[in-house]
Symmetry: C2
Subunit: 362 residues, 2 copies
DNA sequence: TTGTACGCGTTATCAA
DNA sequence: TTGATAACGCGTACAA
């Protein structure tokens, strides 16, 4: 035997020590039924003795042509992506199926809202990619296609041939807007996250709203606007460059500034995170919610149930992750191309909205 | 040429098409200097033509004996791990160095606060592991050792031989407690996250406090208690089973219940997330902060700067991630075993604490 | 530039 | 049944 002292033990080492073939040792780990229990026990014993921790995952991947990992593409840096509590909830749903199937999770953070660098995608050791909420035309998706990796898209963008898991944003937007209209609000403002990955922050001009680069923005915000306008209400739209509480607070502060008579009595927020920020802004401004200001969120993240409980459009976040994970696995095993899921949403009325009280009434 | 229609192109395919050797194509991708520019251009051109997306990451890993990924061990499920905003901040710091060095990030979620399953660790395709805040004796760490993977520990537990990145929790605990003492508070309560991964929630008896299974709890909470007791104050300790806002709210509510004369005038919270929850509880109870109740957090997460800005112990979260990443990479390249880092903390006094007003004064 | 010996397993196919 | 043989899988790296 060659003098291989330092080297880590491999299947061969164990097989040699035992005087059996490598295949037998492999079987001991992967196909216990191909082996007598006694032999298996002997293999495991000497493996433990030699400090062999089981088949090398990389080598196994090469042989299997399976890395056993799903790669998740995020639009932005981790701090920013996780600034919205909706992400961990979704990921947790995903992780639950991933883990059950012994797959692992590779996170590919993006840059400036545009998704991961193509090189990072090219190097990712994943069998399947789940793209989470990327802007139209992200270079990362081209890289995925180039590698021929199966792809599942969550939320956006539309990618031909890729199954998608998304929610009915148009319905959600309508429900939220109708709720406020039904409560008698006419001075409504919209607070949204980015409509394009360019860092813009401020009152969005019509031109911008006409060219939104995110499907979700188009549908959700588009639906807010359509519903409101159909009722003769033309709301100002503040666009934040992301979905973080601080951004929501700043945007809401801007929308709420100005003389009381013209101040919005209701805020339609494209995410709970923004709505939670708006809640803070209301508090800053000394405005009671829902007394003087109604606020509606979107998502129904766990935090929406806190102080005061937020009226919001509930979307099944964990379910999205779970479904995306299942789609991904189905793509892997190849039984039938998975169909897209279009999940429904519902309005959850809690305590951040109330009927509009005209200024003349008591 | 063999009829390999469906198969994905490999280095060989490209080499054959070009009539050169496989090595040349490999060099074209990895060592442009070993190649004439003209040849390189030709290689890239035919690669593009054939739809070859570059060397297969898994095969490359096998040959290099490097997977190019760092594995991060989390104590709990993703939703729970991310319930504390400190995690994404740390991970972002980590991701910044990871990404710069073309490594990717594998997330290994845990179960019930005890870290990932050993099998998951055994299968992880990572060159190095970063364990984030695991309890003493987590099975995951044994699995890491078994595989002989280099390990960096963040916060806890102490693992002999593994470099560590942690903060001075004892100092932080003392600063926070002394701050309240200096403000004249005598009726102080402590609100902490788990002291053992067993799901306990409630007032922690002394017995529990004597056997804390987390290093951070031992130091941070231990320091609260030591400092307070040295001043003759013996605080009740509420233990939440995790560090989430909702848990903090519930715990604080319990601590604040009871007759006003015996109610604590100050809360020492082991994390900002818990403190933020306590803030909600105070609001629920109609208590003004800091007028009637002072609250101190720990961490200084971004949200600590919101309504009202939280007095807290600042620890360099992103820096922790960055350092851990650098340690990990150093372990990989092998230049000198990286030393442990013990980062300092500082008290940031903001607006959630104020001098104690005795009930007799105006 | 090229030849070619690895890297470490998996999985038919065979033989006993 | 139980175990062995050997052909891959796809690159990397060093000597020639």
């Amino acid at each position: 035997v060659a003098p291989r002292t330092q080297r880590k033990p491999t299947l061969d080492t164990v097989a040699a020590a035992l005087g059996v073939s490598r295949a037998t040792v492999s079987n001991a780990y992967n196909r216990p039924d191909q082996l007598s229990p006694a032999m298996r026990a002997r293999v495991m014993a000497t493996a433990a003795e030699l400090g062999y921790a089981g088949p090398d995952p990389v080598a196994r991947s090469l042989a299997t042509r399976r890395s056993g990992a799903v790669g998740v593409l995020l639009d932005d840096r981790l701090v920013r992506a996780f600034a919205d509590a909706a992400l961990p909830v979704m990921l947790d749903g995903l992780a639950s199926v991933i883990d059950r199937l012994d797959q692992s999770l590779i996170l590919l953070p993006g840059t400036a809202g545009d998704g991961p660098r193509p090189e990072a995608v090219a190097r990712a050791q994943a069998d399947v990619i789940i793209a989470n909420s990327l802007p139209d035309g992200s270079a990362a998706l081209a890289a995925v296609r180039r590698r021929g990796l199966p792809l599942v898209v969550i939320d956006q963008p539309l990618v031909s041939g890729a199954p998608m898991v998304r929610v009915d944003d148009a319905l959600g937007g309508r429900l939220a807007a109708e709720h406020l209209l039904a409560l008698g609000h006419r001075r409504v403002a919209v607070l949204t996250f980015a409509t394009a990955p360019d860092g813009f922050e401020g009152l969005a001009p019509d031109r911008r709203l006409a060219g939104m680069r995110y499907l979700v923005s188009r549908e959700r915000v588009g639906s807010y606007l359509a519903t409101l306008r159909a009722a003769g209400v033309d709301p100002p739209v503040w666009e934040a460059p992301g979905s973080a509480r601080g951004l929501g607070r700043r945007g809401a502060a801007a929308l709420l500034a100005g003389e009381p008579a013209r101040r919005p009595t209701a805020l339609l927020c494209a995410s709970d995170e923004l709505a939670l920020g708006a809640l803070e802004a209301a508090r800053d401004a000394g405005l009671s919610v829902p007394g003087e200001l109604s606020i509606v969120g979107f998502d129904d993240v766990p935090a929406a149930q806190a102080t005061p409980p937020l009226t919001t459009v509930r979307q099944p976040l964990a379910e999205k992750g779970r479904l995306a994970g299942e789609q991904a696995l189905r793509l892997l095993t190849g039984d039938r191309a998975a169909p897209s899921h279009h999940l429904t949403v519902s309005l959850v009325v809690r305590q951040s909205t109330a009927p509009h009280r005209s200024q003349h009434s008591s």
